[in-house]
Amino acid sequence: MYLNTSVQFSLRVTFVSARGPGCNFTASERLHPLPLAGGAYVLTELAHPVPNGVPLRPRPNQRHIRVSTRTPLGRCSVSWQVPAQWKVSSHVGTTRSGQRVLLLDITKGVVCKLNQVGSLVWLAISSNPGGNTAEGIATLLQSQFAHVARAQLAMDTNEFLNKLEQMRLVQRLP
């Protein structure tokens, strides 16, 4: 992995365990494109980012981790964003009609229908009791729609999750 140390950049990684010992991170396969020219630095420890020998231990509910470290070519600042876990709100019931998901919000007394892609997103959230991340959902969509750009899937997923959150159909795990 090559990294220009002269710029501060944002790196999205898959969060494996927030509370477990060691708190390993695995680098996402899709990083922001980074310039390779001049002052490029080989960052070899992305799979186990242990800057200066100190393991990263995010606190519970911590969403951002920023680490500054010295490299042979200067100071490097790396930030990780811990992705939110999404889960279905407890007052929402789900049923399926063909390939579509139907939702019933008991508190508001309304019924909703998702389109096919929306249904896939919903199933990705509801099939995992611990919730799912936007990144995980986008990965699932990518397996179904290989011809669609990953960035597009990620953006659509985020927008859709925000809309569902506004409607109180899903919530972020604390």
């Binding site: 007394g109 309304v110 389109n115 096919q116 892609v117 929306g118 859709f160």
Partner: protein, 164 residues
């Protein structure tokens, strides 16, 4: 499957499951013309399957008025035309059968005199903004999530404001 942006559509309120025939008469029931009451009874007894000749219906009921005049009086009393009333009653009957029987949509459409199941689906979509199949699925989900009280599902109520 083609990719499309994930989307959600709000279909309806859950009241469509509890009261699929939310008609409120324009006049309190005691002020409704006796002929209108007879027409309404006729439509209700036939689950909204009435045919299209209103003159003939008025003749069968011995109302001694023309179909045109009867239609006018009906609309004044009930608030909607008799055809619309019959169509809604028929769809509401279909909704009841979707809830209480395991008959297929095709069978229910045939029982209620629809020429094709698509005609029932069209009426259903207009009344409840969802397909008959979705209605059945959602009703069963609602049953699981909430205990539903037994009630007369397609009773016509009088307007509360005019009752006073």
């Amino acid at each position: 499957m083609n990719y499309q942006h994930p989307a959600i559509e709000e279909l309806a309120s859950t009241t469509v499951f509890l009261n699929p025939f939310p008609i409120e008469t324009a006049k309190p029931s005691e002020q409704v013309d006796w002929r209108v009451r007879k027409i309404k009874e006729f439509i209700d007894n036939r689950n909204g399957v009435t045919g299209s000749d209103f003159d003939e219906i008025c003749g069968q009921l011995n109302l001694h008025i023309s179909g045109t005049y009867a239609a006018q009086v009906f609309k004044e009393s009930i608030g909607i035309g008799w055809r619309e009333y019959a169509a809604r009653y028929r769809v509401a009957t279909a909704a009841e059968r979707l809830k209480t029987t395991s008959n297929s949509v095709k069978e229910i459409a045939a029982e209620l005199g629809y020429r094709r199941p698509q005609d029932l689906a069209r009426g259903f979509k207009k009344a409840y903004r969802m397909s008959p199949t979705d209605y059945r699925h959602l009703y069963h989900l609602l049953e699981v999530m909430l205990p539903i009280e037994e009630q007369s599902p397609i009773a016509v109520r009088s307007s509360p404001t005019r009752d006073q």
